[in-house]
Structures are given as C-alpha cells and as structure tokens.
C-alpha cells in the first residue's frame, strides 16, 4: 500500500521491541467477538484505478464551465486567480494543524490576522473572527450570541432571509429554548419587520441583498431594534456585494455574518465554504470561534497567537460560547489571498461588472413575453416570475445546456405560490453571449 511506510521486516522488529507475538495482542481490550469482523468492501486500488473511477463520476455532472451559468442563491461562480489555488496547496498551509504552537505557526496566524482585518473592513465592523463553517452556521451562531448578549430569547427572522439559513438558525435556537418568529417569505422586500420587534426580542436577522435580490436599508431596522434592546444581525450570502453596497456596519448592524465562498473558493457543490463573522468591539468576549491576536515574543518581536480562548470549548467546556473547534482555515486563506490580490480597487470593479451583467440579464430576460422582473433594485441577483413552474423550466434549460437559476420550489418546497419564481444570478464571469443563449433557451422552453 503506497501510503504506508512500514514493511513486514519493520513490523516484525517493532513487535519484538514491544514484546508481542501478534499485532492483535495490542487489541486485547477489544471484546473478542468484535475484533476483525468481515467487511463487505473492496480491496486497495492503484492511483490510476481510483482516478479513473472518480473521474467517471465527475464526468456525469454538468459543471459550471460547460455553458451559460446563472445559479446563485447562496453560492456564486466568480473567477479565482490561479495564484490562489497554488498557494493554498503549499504543504506548509495545506498540511499544518490549528496553530496551537504559535512559534512554528506564524504563517497561519499572520494570514488569520490579515483575514480578520479584511473581513472587519468589508463589513464595516470592529472585529471579525477566524471563520465559521459557512454563512448559514455563522448566522445560527450569531443568534445564539445575541441571546448571550441581551439575555433575551425571541429571535425575529426576516422573510427575505435565505430559507436554508432560516432553517439552520431555527434548528439551533429552538434547541436551546428560544422562540423563533419567522416572517413569511417576502417577495417584494417591503415587510414591516419593525412591528415584529418587542421587548423580549434578542435579535432581528435581515439579509441584504435579500434572497430575492432586493436591496434593504438596514438603518431604520437597526434603530428600532436598539430602541427595544435587541441586536441587528445583518446577513449576506454574496460577499462581493460589500464592494458595491453600503456596509452593514455603517447601517447600524451589531453582528454581521455571511458567506465568503465567492472570494477565493469554488462552488464545490455546497462545501467547504467559509463563514464570515464580525461584530462590535464591546461584544468580543461573547463571540464564537477562534480569534487571532497580535502580541510580542520573548525577544520583543511582533507575533500572533490564538487569543481569548477562555471563550472556547477546549478551555471552558460546557460554559463555552460555542462548540466549534475545526473551522474553515484553508478557505479563509483562499479568501484572504484573493482579496489581497483584488484590493479595494479590484473588488469594486468585480462588483460593478457583476452588477452590470445582472442588469443586462434582467433587461434581456424580462423582455420575454410572460416573464416579470420582481425587483426595482438588485446587486447581482434578481427574481423573475415565470408563466409556469420554474423547476420544470430549470430542468428544460439544463437540457439545452443552460444552468439558468434557482427555482422557487427548490427553496420553498412547501409554498406553491412561489413555485413560478426563478432566482437568477450573474457575475463578472457572465458574458453577453451567455445572456443571449439564456434568453434564447428560455424563450424556447416557456
């Protein structure tokens, strides 16, 4: 077996040193009838054979690069510079552990410090943590944090929050005994959230742009929440939008969470992604997850360490702010490299190009007979109402080589009034030719 360095002679010598006759002497504590059972699994294979088998499976999928691609709703297909994937595959990043020994992990620690700074700047907040699993779990953790900060237990969720984020959050909050109030899906972006906030409310969770693509002004919601002693949790699923839209921090958010996949990371069929989590300085001791901080070493040189670990499970156990341990370190690195290359200038251009592609697509698609654009404004994703079930339309489009968006039935399976909706996303990867093909295909399948 190519991955195992010991040979039979090594094993025999080592058994002699240990003083055993058989390897199973080391498994003597295992109940006899549980040791060495039969398994119905194949035997080892060569690298070539494995590559062939997995290659066949991969070949059965239609990948984003094969044709026009307009799928979003929480994951976006942006261009990632080749440098990013090269760097994250360096052994010293790829095959290192959590930086618990900071003297020999300054590489990881310094990029985490840079990542935290980038995320804080993007969100307009004071501090960010070293990443969560993804946007949805970051959102759930934010609601739990609001409970700790406010000591209240009523979570108000906007009808514009991605329904999967809402489900994850509800699942976590109800588990601990919170009451979760979920506003109905709000296709126009005009819900009255303020009326839903009361004295028992720990937080209001609002996505911007919302899942239908509407751009929300968070300022009045923040003010209303603060008046009642609640926190505003601002959510984004498309981090590139922060290069075009007013930051959630500037609009008064107390916690900002979202998905960072768009920057540096592939679609990966949903994971691994990178959850971003930022908040105000005054709440840092309530934050979940790892934090990297600056300090000095014994020679007075600047260095970085994991810090405030008394919040974390390995120190505080059942009193920890979260059970999270492993996070999305390498995806955070990919994010940080890509963002370092982009800089503010590149990010703003990327955002503008994505917005313009969406504007072109929205105009061209809504010119089709029976197709209605629901948005007055949007960033790079908008919602169309089709004259028929969008799930079938998406299938038919795929048959024509166009991955044309996310149908309402996929996100709100139980709500039939939303099943004619199609969420359409564009990025800087979207070409005029892609839009032309999409329009032509949609005309045919409607």
């Amino acid at each position: 077996m190519r991955y195992l360095p010991l040979n039979q002679s090594d094993r025999a010598k080592m058994q002699d040193v240990i003083g055993i006759n058989s390897i199973d002497d080391l498994f003597a504590d295992v109940p006899k009838n549980a040791l060495n059972p039969a398994f119905d699994l194949p035997r080892q294979q060569s690298e070539m054979a494995v590559e062939r088998a997995l290659g066949e499976m991969a070949g059965k999928n239609i990948s984003g690069g094969q044709g026009p691609f307009f799928v979003g709703a929480g994951a976006y297909r942006h261009h990632v510079p080749a440098t990013v994937d090269h760097i994250i595959q360096r052994s010293e990043f790829l095959t290192s552990y959590t930086p618990y020994q900071p003297e020999i992990a300054q590489g990881t620690l310094q990029y985490l410090f840079e990542f935290q700074t980038q995320v804080a700047a993007l969100t307009g907040m004071d501090v960010a943590n070293a990443s969560m699993y993804d946007g949805s779990t970051a959102c759930a953790e934010a609601a739990l944090m609001a409970r700790r900060v406010t000591r209240k237990n009523r979570v108000v969720i906007s009808g514009g929050l991605h329904p999967h984020y809402a489900s994850v959050t509800r699942c976590n909050s109800e588990l601990i005994g919170d009451k979760v109030v979920l506003a109905p899906a709000n296709i126009k972006g005009d819900e009255d959230l303020i009326a839903m906030i009361d004295d028992q409310t720990s937080c209001v969770i609002v996505q911007n742009p919302d899942v239908f693509g509407h751009i929300r002004d968070l300022t009045p919601i923040a003010e209303a929440a603060h008046e009642k002693g609640a926190l505003l949790i601002a959510v984004f699923t498309e981090v590139v939008s922060l290069g075009a839209l007013q930051s959630p921090g500037a609009m008064g958010a107390d916690i900002v969470v979202g998905e960072g996949q768009s920057i540096g990371n592939s679609l990966n069929f949903g994971g691994p992604y990178v959850g971003l989590f930022a908040t105000r300085q005054k709440y840092i001791r309530h934050m979940p997850g790892r934090l990297c901080g600056q300090t000095k070493d014994a020679d007075g040189q600047r260095g970085f360490v994991l810090t405030l670990s008394t919040r974390e499970q390995h120190i505080r156990r059942d009193k920890a702010t979260s059970n999270i341990c492993t996070n999305s370190g390498l995806c955070a690195l990919a994010f940080s490299i890509h963002m370092s290359l982009l800089g503010e200038k590149g990010l703003r251009t990327m955002a503008t190009l994505s917005h313009e592609a969406a504007c072109d697509a929205a105009d061209a698609l809504s010119a089709l007979s029976g197709v209605v654009l629901l948005n007055d404004n949007f960033f790079n994703e908008f919602t169309l109402r089709l004259p028929k079930n969008a799930e079938q339309v998406a299938e038919d489009l795929a048959g024509k080589g166009v991955l044309g968006g996310v149908p309402g039935g996929r996100l709100w399976p139980e709500q039939e009034d939303l099943h004619n909706l199609l969420l359409v996303a564009a990025t800087e990867m979207t070409s005029t030719e892609h839009i032309r093909k999409f329009v032509a295909a949609l005309r045919e399948v409607l």
Binding site: Y100, S136, Q246, G271, F378
Partner: protein
Amino acid sequence: MSMKPQGRPTAPIGTDPVKNGPTHTGNKALQIEEKLIFEIGDFRGTGVDFAQAKGLPPRLGGLARKDEIGLPGLSEPQAMRHYVRLSQKNYAIDMGPFPLGSCTMKHNPRLNEKMARLPGFADIHPLQPVSTVQGALELIDMLALWLKELTGMPAVAMSPKAGAHGELCGMMAIKAALVARGEADTRRRVLAPESSHGTNPATAAQCGFTVDDIPADKTGRVDIKAFKAMLGPDVAAIMVTNPNTGGLFERDIRQMADLVHEAGGYFYCDGANLNAIMGKVKPGDLGIDAMHINLHKTFSTPHGGGGPGAGPTVLSEALAAYAPVPYVVAKGKEFELVEKRSQGAETSFGRMTAFHGQMGMFVRALSFMMSHGIDGLKQAAEDAVLNANYVLTRLKAEMSPAFPGFCMHEALFDDAFLKDSGVETIDFAKAMIDEGYHPMTMYFPLIVHGAMLIEPTESESKEELDQFCDALLALAREAKTGKTDKFKAAPVFAPRRRLDETAAARKPVLRWVSPAQ
C-alpha cells in the same frame, strides 16, 4: 578551528548563532521577515486585471457604498512572495512528524487534492437541477456506504461540517428522539468522562443539556461503578470517546451501552479516535447510537491550518428517522436528493447547514478509502497502533507513561519524569521545536498531570520514529540533569520565540489599524 573554505563549514563548529546577534535585515537566511499586507500593499492598487465596466447607471436603490473600504491590492509577484514567506514560518506534516494526540495528523495524498479539483466536483452548484449532478450524488452515496459498512451502522447523516458539528447532529437526533418519546423535559442530563474532548460538554450544553463528569478509574478508563451510580431516569445520553483520549480502549464499552440503554438513554460515541480501530472493529457492534467521523482525521482530508473538516455522523435504527435534511437516496441507478419533509423526511429534526455538507472533503475521503481498500485501512489502523506502542515502549526508558499496559493509536505520558527537574511539560514541548519537531498535545487529557499525548499515526517510518524517540530520550535525560535554562528559553531556532499570550488576551489586538488613525 578553521576549515577549508570549499564545501566545509567556515566557522568553528559549536558557534552559538543565538549569541551572534541579529542580522541587519532581521532575516535569518531562508527565514525572511514579512510585514502585513496592509504594510506592503497599495490601497489604490490591484493585482487582478478586469475588463472595463460599461458605466451603466447603477440600480442599487440609492445604497451604494461611499466610504473607503481600506483593502490593499498586491501585484501578483508581491502576493506570491508574501504568502510563500509566510508559509515558511509553518510546521507541516509534509516536513516531519506531527504527533499531536487526538488530532491524527497523517499523510495527505495529493491524488485526493487532484480528484477534488475535477470540474465535475469542484465547479458544480449545490442548487443545480438534480439531473445535472447525478455523479456527485453517486459519490456521496458511495461514501455513505463505506462509512456505514466500516462502522456497522444502518444510517449516516452526511451534512455536518466538522467533528463538533457532527456531535451536534448526533445530540440533536437524540433530543428529537426524546421529544418524540415525550421525555425531553425529564431527561436533561448528559454524562461524559472527565477525560472527554471539550467539544462534548460544549455540544451537550448547546442542546440545552446539563453535563456531569464521569470519573476515570486507575487504569484511565471510565469508572464503571461510578458510572452505574450516575445513571437514572433523568439521563438523556452518555458521550464517550473510544478509544478514549488516553489512547485506551474502553474495555467495558458494551456494558456501558447496555446500562445506558436500560436506563432509557442513548450512547453518543465520539469518533475522533476511529483511526485506531477502522477495519478492526465495527463500533456498531459495541452498542452505540451515534458517532461522528472526522474525515479530516481518519480519512486524511488535510487539516489546512484548522479546517475545513467534515463530520458525517452515523446513526442507529433508533435515531435514523431524525436525521437532518438534505440527504441522498439511491433509487435504482438514479439518485434522489431529499430536501423536504414530504419526501419521506417527516420526522427529520431539520437542517444543519445551507447545503449538502463538505463535498470537497467527501471526494478526498472516498479517494483515500478506495486507494486503501478495506485491507489497506485495516493495515493502516494496525500500523498506527504499532507505531504508538513502539514509541510508548521506547520512551518508557526515560519518560513516564500515564497508565500501565499497551495503548491504542496514541501514547499518553504524564510529567512525573520531570519531577524536581524544574522543567515543565510546556518547556519540554518547546524544546522539541528546536529539535525540529512539532510538539505532542500538551496538558490534555485533563485527568493526567502535565499530560503529553503522542499520536504518531501510520504515516511514520520506523527510521523516522527512531530519530524521534532518540530526540525525546535525549531531551528527557537532559531535563533530568537540571539544565533548565535551555528548556525555559526554548524555542530559540523557530521563527519566533515564546509569545506573550497573557498580553494578547489582556489587551486584544484583533486587527491591523492604520498608524495614521
């Protein structure tokens, strides 16, 4: 002593580089000091070339961003140097042994990286039509089959994103089962050994349970008598790691399972240490109800400096009906994705993450499993246990094992061998850094004084292990001679000396701030 200038040292052997003082640059040959991106980058520059925007009127609802964001852009060569220099300040499994106990730092085959990057896996969207991702669903289903067969369990939830997330999945399923039984309000206690990972009590608390510690017996295992006495009608579950965090197999595990089941509770097994028993034992044969599997430990998806991981969670018949959505169901040659309750998931406890789990890790783990085959996985477990016992046996000569007898995949020592030397566990660990090794896990598990937990994994050759043991034996002998200065000063050859963690926590500096502010 001077030497010939060609091919030989030009300075006398024994020169202490530490006393030579700093270089003009602060660099040390291959170790280049590197500033932050905010100190080297151009806040108006970019390292990415784009097409020109058209200048269309924005439709952003009047909420365009006007403030300066404050992100520097680095040219590609600047970025490349920045990250390569940073990388050279990291230790990694590709450089040498990474013997962190409970972390299973094994070799990461590059085939797995190549497979995960196939566009058919990496460039597909989680919400594409199901008909366009049949190969992806097939892969998830095949990995699920491997995991179920390896563990002898009937069901597996694939979506948890890491080990702790898998624990949460298992405990959520247990909570849902208790709700269905009408006992969620009465069964509020979870029992976990005092040697458990911190994630266990943290997870239980996150589910609204209170947690009580089960004491260990003299052999480092669960004290079965004490355990028995703690059981009652208020117990929801036990959370037990097996092999445990002392590297020992819980001999009485079946009895524990029977006892907790008789008391009406469930058995959550922490699968972090599965590497010791994969292909040797089916945890399902031991009576467990749920167990997460760290694909980033046992099945070698890279740790990546702290993640991403993946924590699929196997479930017993009693819990399977509560598994989270989404999941894959094979229907003949087609694969269906169950995302809604009406697809047969009426009793599901809900959703743990936005999409289907860590697909990138699934590909890597399956690639690892297929490469090994069942014979290779069994051999890997045996080699991991053999390596750990070899280290235990050799180090016994100078160091003090925490418990008598053999171990499983990791060897636990206490600090008794350092008694009265003035050297503490942390000093010993930091001295290992100077010898070119990543230290073992320190001060965990908590039941052992000054714990040192060594997990070599199956990836180490005998030669590498011998060098490692020689180094530790030499350090142990040196420590006992009372040469504390060297140990207290260590590390001196690393990119940084010991860092002031107290200062970092007292006045947290968690981001770069422009000196102008």
